[in-house]
Symmetry: C2
Subunit: 354 residues, 2 copies
């Protein structure tokens, strides 16, 4: 058996274009990675013909279920219902060790709640966070939290920073990524009390973190930092606003090239360079957010991702497993947790003196 | 005397490129609007030669002061210091009625604090909010708050909606603009308690508001609503992320057109349509945020705005004054304030029942 061989659990019924986009995405991933095996959890009657037509029956296995998490389910419902949902069964496969990671394009809130319940947090982590990649003028940056936690205190933000650091290090091979806290200004007095307290802890030399300070929204696409830390509300707003702005300007570019005969000729001449631009900004290439802080690799594909996007999400999951992410994260966290606690004590003493 | 004649107070020393960009911007505004007069508050020794070289000495007046609000002053310092700062004296001119509005590119926090102190809130308004325009696929949308208030409760958000509605109505001539609340999802259970409570009040028919519901960050550039309401933290993050993403893609477009001889020829052919794209996205055209909720028109120019941007900010101030914005806002607010209170009572009753 190849030491690199890896089996992933796929929630085949989650997402707007499931199961078609999921199966087509699985086929792309299997073509690119010959050591990959997939367990597709979902409606066997629907999946079997799709797998056959993609010719991937021999490298996939189906775990049948009729139940699906509805896209509008609220997390508290998701917790009670759906022990047999495709999402839940796929998580069980990770828990039992049959699969090394799960990829789902289903309801984010439900995935968060079920993943927490099945896989549990890594010891010491108060709340898992959703992390994803954004294109920037320099290397892509990783941003977290993107919506798993609406309100965050200083400890949450500091733990997000530690998890984001490990995530960036493992996937990009950068020993000490630059970390920034998202804020409404770069001056020390800006932002909420939680953000200022988190900044005080992150600045502490004991943490040995490459913390560069506050950053504003416009510094994200400039690539000012490698890891952007924020609460889930503003992180989600930043990510979606960036996506929407990209789509908007993309439509303006198409309009501009179609505006006249001369512009259309211009497009023919500039086409190759603009394909590169489109590649850089293509959200499908950045698809695959990761729920960090759990005892297992949980990758969330965008609900509207196409097959290409779903294949990217599968690659995120296999990369994280092959590079030993969970062990690396745990080791990193256990090293930094003591330093965080010491820094917290120092920061609190500082506040009491004031 | 022309009935349209208008005098504005200009903080000539605020902003990164003051006073040069301010005076050049003033010159543009004066050329475009023959009924405009300006009072420039700042260092007469510096201003006089600049006004002379722009040839606008006869339509401007200088109020001399040496004192300037430092760009790094924190609001509590700004409150104590600087009774003679250019910003403060310019606000005094609005208070006394010598000027119909103020335009400043100085420190936002200081402007907020000083404007509140000098001009006071409109009765019933708990907190003023900063509003500005963003380009979208449809007509530009107005967004508030953009950073004046980090934490906002439901009443603040509802008042922002009422102020944004009046702002949009007056400047765009739309009787009943579409209003949306920025959130991390469109489902009713999403977001913080404040946002959900604000949504309940805004949905109340008594308000007669064209409230369309929650919107996510990516719906802003799509032009899904005319007025985007949010707390100042996430509003600021959204605005700046949109600006940064635009700049980033702008740089990718320049790179693409410069990538090869063929692409450069393509640019020559498509140049005219791309100029239009650049115009649509040019942040200088959208410069001029407005502090809503005060007894006077206060326009904040971006600190880094150039002369063209500063001229746009002056135009925002004169448009608001000529269209009777403050009276319109007050009338609109006094009508909706009673409805807001009634809706609040209904919303609270609803919560108690649960």
């Amino acid at each position: 058996m190849n030491s690199q061989e890896i089996t992933l659990a796929i929630d085949a019924m989650g997402g707007d274009h499931a199961p078609q986009a999921v199966v087509k995405g699985a086929a792309i991933a299997l073509r690119l990675d010959t050591d990959l095996r997939l367990i597709l959890v979902g409606d066997a009657g629907k999946l079997r013909p799709l797998l056959a037509s993609e010719g991937i029956g021999d490298r996939t296995r189906i775990v049948h279920t009729d139940a699906v998490v509805a896209s509008e389910e609220i997390p508290s419902q998701a917790l009670r219902s759906g022990k047999n949902s495709s999402m839940r069964l796929a998580l069980d496969l990770v828990k039992s060790g049959e699969a090394s990671a799960i990829v789902s394009a289903g309801n984010s809130g439900a995935l968060m709640v079920k993943a927490l319940m099945v896989l549990r947090q890594i010891e010491g982590i108060e709340r898992p966070a959703l992390a994803a990649w954004l294109p920037t003028r320099q290397e892509p940056c990783c941003m977290l939290d993107l919506g798993a936690n609406i309100d965050c205190d200083a400890t949450n933000l500091v733990q997000f920073a530690a998890m984001g650091e490990a995530f960036y290090r493992v996937l990009q091979g950068v020993a000490s990524p630059r970390i920034g806290l998202l804020n409404v200004g770069i001056e020390a007095q800006k932002g909420s009390a939680s953000i200022r307290e988190a900044a005080a802890i992150l600045s502490d030399a004991q943490l040995k973190m490459n913390y560069v300070g506050f950053i504003e929204g416009d510094a994200i696409p400039e690539g000012a930092v490698n890891v952007v830390v924020s609460d889930g509300f503003s992180g989600n707003v930043a990510l979606k606003t960036a996506e929407g702005t990209s789509r908007f300007i993309g439509s303006l570019i198409r309009d501009a090239f179609g505006a006249s005969l001369s512009a259309r000729l211009g497009y023919v001449l500039a086409r190759r360079s603009f394909r590169k631009l489109r590649d850089t900004m293509n959200p499908q290439h950045y698809n695959g957010a990761v729920l960090l802080g759990l005892n297992g690799i949980v990758v969330k594909s965008h609900g509207s991702a196409n097959h290409e996007g779903f294949a990217s999400a599968i690659k995120v999951a296999s990369d994280l497993h092959r590079r030993g992410f969970i062990n690396d994260l745990k080791a990193g966290l256990s090293r930094s947790m003591a330093a965080i606690e010491a820094a917290q004590a120092t920061a609190q003493k500082g506040q009491e003196k004031e």
